[in-house]
Amino acid sequence: MTTRLLLVALAVLAAAPAAAQPSGAASCAGCHAAAGPVPGLEGRPAAEIAAAMAAFRSGERPATVMDRIAKGFSDDETRAIAEWLAGRQDHARP
């Protein structure tokens, strides 16, 4: 019974950030995963993700494709995505 309650609690926790998924965030996981040459983003500090996006947008940080994608998002949108990704630690690698 305890296990079951715990599982339910975990499921609710896992579901909570999903409900607030900000605009654009659904697409990041298309390429970004915990393993492989494209770095995973979930659980990374929000400030780090937002700064990277700003640098991609300005062209300060070289990129193959993220420069083109970052230009499609405002600072506010980027911040919301970064905070959402940072809060998904429970989804990051075990």
Partner: protein
């Protein structure tokens, strides 16, 4: 009854207490998803992770992915690397029914399967991909496709085209007929031309490849053409619409492609015919006179039938191309919208992204990206964002994009099927 049975089976499955909808507040709402590709399987999984009870209807036991299937045709990859099962979805509590959906009663919200059973739904997601039109190009039907493969649905057709290339003697002529817009995977015919050219250059260098096109422009065109000039000079010829490239008729017996300006007899002919949304979309009444499905850009709900959502290649997604990446992004947005609608709330607008890689040779990748937002009832491209890889990039850049292409495939197939 099957709807009820489906719910009961779901509860009986391992770990079901965790997902039992009554525990987690989505009531007993059930979503049926038709089509187990990047869109459908991705959406089913995303819905399940939002505690929605989901049944996925897909006739095949294993999905065969189209991205990277051009590498299979060119002998650079095994078809098995393209195949994925549904155990990952099953483990998370998605009920899988290996049947074809044949009809939809939108009014009473039921899907009929090919064994006569019916599934009740609160919301239906159709992700049927494409249907090849065997009525659109004179001479090209299902029988002709055995002699002149389309290879535009990965699987047996992919291997057939590969075997034909392998059997062709050096000095032969390969022809590709590319369709007018819209069609699945806009850069696909040109990636295929590139990789077949690579095969010919390395294995059968006296051969020729001709691309007969029903268009004057195509995706990543400048990048492709620059690469063709550098890598495959004199081997690959592209004939646009304005030079008589449109194929108007074919003859399978002689492998002849007839254009407005003449005819081409090929040793291997790859005919990519016009397409439309998969059959169930036509049967459900969600496709319009174009053969594709108009949708709301926020919820992906059909403009023609309430309670039915359409995602992926079958949908008219405005500026978004028909790609696996786009289908999977739409799947996530659609799942979030459905979960919100089931709670009786209004979904918020979401931006979407597309990134498409193509290989022009092993270790030589190029990409196109776009960011899209709902506007004027469509998905419109966000201005100032997106575009293709630079024309003047160094070889290391191309190599990196080839690696990222592979990484993307690993990631997306892992997240959808793993």
């Amino acid at each position: 009854m099957p709807g009820r049975r489906a719910v009961l089976q779901g509860i009986a499955a391992g770990g079901a207490a965790l997902w039992a909808p009554s525990v987690l507040g989505q009531g007993t709402a059930r979503v049926v998803v038709v089509g187990g590709g990047f869109g459908g399987a991705g959406c089913a999984r995303a819905l399940r992770r939002r505690d929605v009870a989901v049944t996925l209807v897909e006739p095949e036991e294993r999905f065969t992915a189209c991205p990277f299937s051009n590498e299979v045709i060119a002998g650079l990859r095994d078809l098995d690397a393209q195949r994925f099962g549904y155990d990952g979805l099953r483990r998370e509590g998605v009920e899988i029914v290996h049947r074809s959906a044949t009809a939809v009663d939108a009014r009473y919200r039921r899907v009929r399967l090919d064994d006569g059973t019916e599934l009740a739904y609160d919301r239906l997601v159709l992700a049927p991909g494409i249907e090849l039109r065997f009525d659109a190009l004179p001479g090209y039907d299902q029988v002709a496709a055995e002699a002149m493969p389309h290879a535009w649905k990965a699987g047996a057709q992919t291997l057939l085209l590969r075997r034909q290339l392998e059997a062709m003697p050096d000095g032969g002529v390969v022809a590709i007929a590319a369709p007018a817009n819209p069609f699945r995977c806009p850069p696909g015919p040109y990636e295929r031309a590139s990789l077949i050219a690579h095969y010919l250059k390395t294995r059968k260098p006296r051969s020729k490849l001709i691309v007969l096109d029903a268009k004057d422009a195509f995706s990543k065109q400048r990048l492709f053409q620059a690469a063709w000039e550098a890598l495959y000079p004199g081997l690959l010829e592209w004939v646009p619409l304005s030079s008589g490239g449109r194929v108007t008729e074919v003859d399978a017996a002689t492998r002849t492609l007839v254009t407005e300006f003449g005819s081409h007899r090929a040793d291997v002919a790859n005919v990519i015919p016009p397409q439309r949304a998969g059959a169930i979309a036509q049967a459900a009444g969600v496709a319009d006179q174009t053969g594709w499905c108009p949708i709301d850009p926020v919820t992906f709900e059909s403009r023609l039938q309430t309670g039915i959502h359409v995602i992926g290649d079958a949908a008219i997604a405005g500026a978004m191309p028909k790609s696996a990446f786009a289908a999977n992004g739409q799947a996530q947005v659609c799942a979030a919208a459905i979960a919100t609608l089931l709670r009786g709330e209004a979904p918020a607008e979401q931006k979407l992204v597309n990134t498409c890689y193509s290989l022009v040779a092993p270790g030589y990748g190029i990409s196109v990206a776009g960011v899209y937002r709902p506007a004027d009832g469509l998905l419109r491209e966000v201005e100032g964002a997106g575009g293709t890889s630079p024309l003047d990039a160094p070889p290391e850049f191309r190599e990196m994009e080839a690696r990222y292409a592979e990484a993307w495939f690993e990631t997306i197939t892992g997240s959808v099927f793993g």
